[in-house]
Amino acid sequence: MSDVPENLRYTSDHEWLRLEDDGSVTVGITDHAQEALGELVYVELPESGSDLGAGDTCAVVESVKAASDVYSPLPGTVMATNESLAEQPELVNGNPYGEGWLVRLQPTDSSALESLLNAEAYTRFLAEAED
């Protein structure tokens, strides 16, 4: 069973979000997603400062099996990206909720976070997808 930390928000596209103290939001892919993809060999990240709409492609993660788009769960501006992933994309596999984060966004409206899945709802979503 994959790891779903309590303190995060989730999307049905297997992204996680964490609201930081400064009002920014950190985005990554979930443990389930990294496991389904297999070992990553390349991560493409957006330019800092670029504006994203909800549902825009904000990153591409590529494994030996597949290349998948990661969609921006909220509208916002890219404040920072995880530059270590250029050399070590496997950080996403090893620690998807920590060193393997992808993008930090300044959301246009951080209350939109409330409408995303919580840990319990995401766990249920994963269980239903299993059937």
């Binding site: 389904a36 070992e39 060999v41 390349y42 030996v64 099996k65 597949a66 496997e90």
Partner: protein
């Protein structure tokens, strides 16, 4: 078993002097254009070269030696007579710039090939120039865009693609300057019509569909899909990847498609795999005919001749230096002439019969097939999700272990919609005994997964190379290896 690189056989001073010119003339080139050092070539005898390449050829895992159920690739037998006739000196030694009057036989074959493809698909006209399936797709969507622009309809720049599509479809749309709108597949394997209705509009240039789809089922709602897309002013593109399943039995034009490509190398059985050569002939209905890529072959009272930009001013242009992969087109021509209309129907009948037989055997043995309530087309999907959960043995492990059992692996992890999947396409050219042997091997491997999974993790054990480090291969590309000596 491991065959050393030819450079590892190399020893200074060795060579094949019988094949080298004794006194090569000094090159008439300016000094700065000449090499300063000798090229890195292996120094080996002629016999060493012969043995090296013969051994390599014996290691081929090929359709001539093994069952090759690689889904979505249609690895059927390639009749040797097609090869032999395409290599007749009159074809093989013909120069592409030779005058039309000296190539009437070749041009006649190409003209008849265009006509046979029209009959097999219901399309009005064909161009044979695309050099591969992906180039055929590019030509098809470029024609859709040229059609809209010719009518002053310049805002149409969206191509709709189902989520089950081949990856080349969204790539093609993007290369043609369009954006892609993905629509989901319903639980029954058909396109979600409500999502399609919501996706079409004044910006819809067209939809790209494979039918049967990559899920190995026939898209039953195709008349409704055609009505929705045409109603919104868009056109329908048929990706011919899976034409083998319906050859001679259903016409893409009758389903409502406006333009299509055919992978001649797949459906019409020319040797392929490992990157080509291919042929992606494109067919169109009346309204797209002016935009076909040139040249196409025309027939006049004086004989056959190339129709070019002068005859076809609205053409999207040229896709290759001459007129496509002539050798592949000739092989496909011979194959079609040998089959005839009745033979083509038998291709579809036996391709679907073999797929359904194998699917039934595996389903009866307890394998989970992706769409058990649907009849398979020419291929079907098995999901090893349960096995993977219970034993840790993945679809990739099973694929590798099948190699040890003497079978080429099915397509793995495609389509992406089905977890831990194998996409299995037996083709019409396999005997029942082969299908049974494959099913037996799958059952045996499943038993092994339950009792000694470690052995499967290590497979393949009998091949010249073991399991490759595919992560390292993707990260540390070494495309310019050279000997260190």
């Amino acid at each position: 078993m491991y065959e050393a690189l030819i450079f590892e056989h190399s020893r200074p001073g060795r060579g094949a002097p019988g094949h080298a010119p004794a006194n090569p003339p000094a090159p008439k080139l300016a000094g700065h254009l000449l090499r300063s050092a000798a090229p890195a070539l292996p120094a080996v005898t002629e016999l060493q070269v012969v043995r090296h390449f013969t051994r390599l050829s014996q290691q081929n895992f090929s359709i001539d030696t093994h069952f090759y159920p690689l889904g979505s690739c249609t690895m059927k037998y390639n009749p040797k007579v097609c090869n032999r006739l395409a290599l007749l000196p009159g074809f093989a030694e013909r120069h592409p710039l030779g005058p039309e009057s000296h190539g009437q036989g070749f041009l006649a074959c190409m003209f008849e090939l265009q006509e046979m493809l029209q009959a097999a698909t219901g399309m009005t006209a064909f161009s044979l120039t695309p050099m591969a399936g992906a180039q055929g797709e590019f030509a098809g969507v470029a024609m859709i865009m040229a059609y809209h622009r010719s009518r002053g309809d310049t805002q149409r720049n969206e191509i709709i693609v189902p989520d089950a599509a081949h990856g080349t479809n969204p790539a093609t749309a993007t290369m043609c300057g369009c954006s892609v709108r993905e629509i989901p597949t319903g639980a029954d394997g058909d396109v979600d019509l409500d999502a399609l209705r919501a996706a079409v509009g004044p910006r819809t240039a067209g939809i790209m569909l494979t039918n049967p789809s990559t899920l190995g089922v026939f898209e039953r709602k195709i008349p409704e899909i055609a009505a929705i897309v045409h109603g919104a002013g868009g056109l329908l593109y048929y990706d011919g990847a899976n034409l083998n399943a319906i050859l001679g039995r259903a016409l893409p034009a009758a389903m409502g498609f406006d333009v299509m490509h055919i992978n001649l190398h797949k459906t019409f059985s020319t040797p392929h795999g490992g990157g080509g050569p291919g042929s992606g002939a494109v067919g169109v209905n009346e309204r797209l005919a002016p935009f076909l890529p040139v040249p196409v072959v025309g027939k006049t009272e004086a004989g056959y001749r190339w129709l070019t930009e002068t005859d076809r001013p609205q053409s999207i242009g040229r896709l290759s230096a001459f007129m496509g992969n002539a050798g592949i087109l000739l092989r496909a021509y011979v194959y079609m002439r040998m089959l005839g209309g009745r033979g083509m129907r038998r291709v579809a009948d036996y391709a679907t019969l073999n797929a359904n037989y194998l699917m039934s055997r595996l389903a009866a043995a307890g394998f989970r097939v992706a769409y058990p309530e649907r009849r398979a087309s020419h291929e079907f999907i098995v999901s090893l999700k349960d096995l993977s959960r219970d034993t840790g043995i993945t679809a990739m492990d099973v694929a590798k272990a099948l190699l040890d059992k003497g079978f080429h692996a099915p397509t793995t992890y495609f389509p992406l919609l089905v977890p831990e999947c194998l996409l299995i396409e037996p083709t019409e050219t396999e005997a029942r005994e082969e299908l049974d042997a494959f099913a037996d091997a799958m059952i045996e491997l499943r038993n092994q997964a339950r009792h000694e999974p470690e052995a499967l993790k290590a497979a393949p054990l009998t091949l010249p190379v073991r399991r490759l480090d595919d992560v390292r291969a993707a990260k540390q590309l070494d495309l310019a290896w050279r000997p260190t000596a």
